[in-house]
């Protein structure tokens, strides 16, 4: 084992810990397109939000305190895999420049961990 090997293992362990830290239940959903806020909605109300912009089409669904993307016209469809509900989590569709982020219940609340 050389110094660099140990440094790399340390980074891996830190990443694992940060990934596994439990996050609080979210309250609001922030939908952004191309880095700008598109819509902000509550996580408690069930709704279907169609998103149509110059970058692409997606459908975001909020149901029983969770958010997921049911439709995307992007080629990989990776965003259709996740369902999120915890504060700080997000679903990202890189081709359509869309991000759906769950945030804390109140704006003032500090609950997003920044690394």
């Amino acid at each position: 084992m050389r110094k660099g090997d140990i440094a790399l293992i340390t980074v891996a362990v830190i990443s694992l810990v940060l990934w596994l830290i439990p996050k609080p239940q979210g309250g609001r959903v922030l939908i952004s397109v191309n880095g700008e806020v598109y819509r902000e909605v509550s996580l408690d109300e069930n709704s279907v939000i169609p998103i149509e912009t110059e970058f692409g089409k997606n459908t975001v669904v909020i149901e029983k305190g969770g958010v997921f993307v049911t439709h995307s016209n992007c080629p990989d469809g990776l965003c259709e895999k996740d369902r999120i509900s915890k504060s700080g989590e997000s679903i990202v569709c890189l081709p359509n420049r869309l991000s759906v982020t769950v945030e804390g219940k109140n704006k003032e609340e500090v609950d997003v961990i920044l690394w």
Partner: protein, 164 residues
């Protein structure tokens, strides 16, 4: 200097890297940004057998060819930034002599994913922040796996191609 022999050798490296990149694109990714990066074995082989400058040529041409053949402009920005940062880090790590070949590859995987993360951060915004630990971890793990493969290739490659 550039001679026919060297051009032929590098062309062989590039074509193998492009084919591996293509084969990998046939498999659906496990999650966004998480993939093995098997073409990295060729880049490491080029780095250890021929040196940093030639590895750059192989790496950048591989990305350009993959974009032209089966990619898109968006993925090109991500791929190129990932390739350049990852190879730069690997060259420095190799020179420092503090890294084994496997952890050079692990560091390359990590830097590849960090570069892609930075691109995503610029394009998408802070919504991608939570994903950084996943990208770091998967980058290191996949880099280590390709590094193990690369170690075997470098050993045999040196016998075939000669050290320089």
């Amino acid at each position: 200097m550039v001679n026919t022999r060297k051009i032929t050798k590098l062309a062989a490296f590039i074509s193998v890297a492009v084919i591996l990149g293509y084969v990998e694109s046939l498999f659906p990714p496990v999650a966004a940004g998480v993939k093995l990066g098997i073409a990295n074995t060729v880049i490491i082989a080029a780095l250890y057998i021929h040196g940093g400058k030639d590895a750059y040529i192989v790496s950048v041409l591989k990305v350009v060819l993959c974009m032209a053949l089966f990619g898109s402009m968006t993925s090109f920005i991500y791929s190129l930034s990932g390739a350049v940062l990852s190879l730069s880090a690997m060259i420095i790590a190799k020179r420092s002599k503090n890294f084994s070949i496997i952890s050079v590859s692990g560091l390359g995987g990590l830097c590849h994913n960090i570069a892609q993360f930075v691109c995503a951060y610029i394009i998408i915004g802070k919504g991608v922040l939570f994903y950084l630990p996943v990208l770091c971890l998967s980058g290191i793990l996949c880099g280590v796996l390709t590094g193990i493969a690369a170690q075997l290739i470098v050993k045999r490659g040196r016998e075939i191609f000669g050290k320089e």
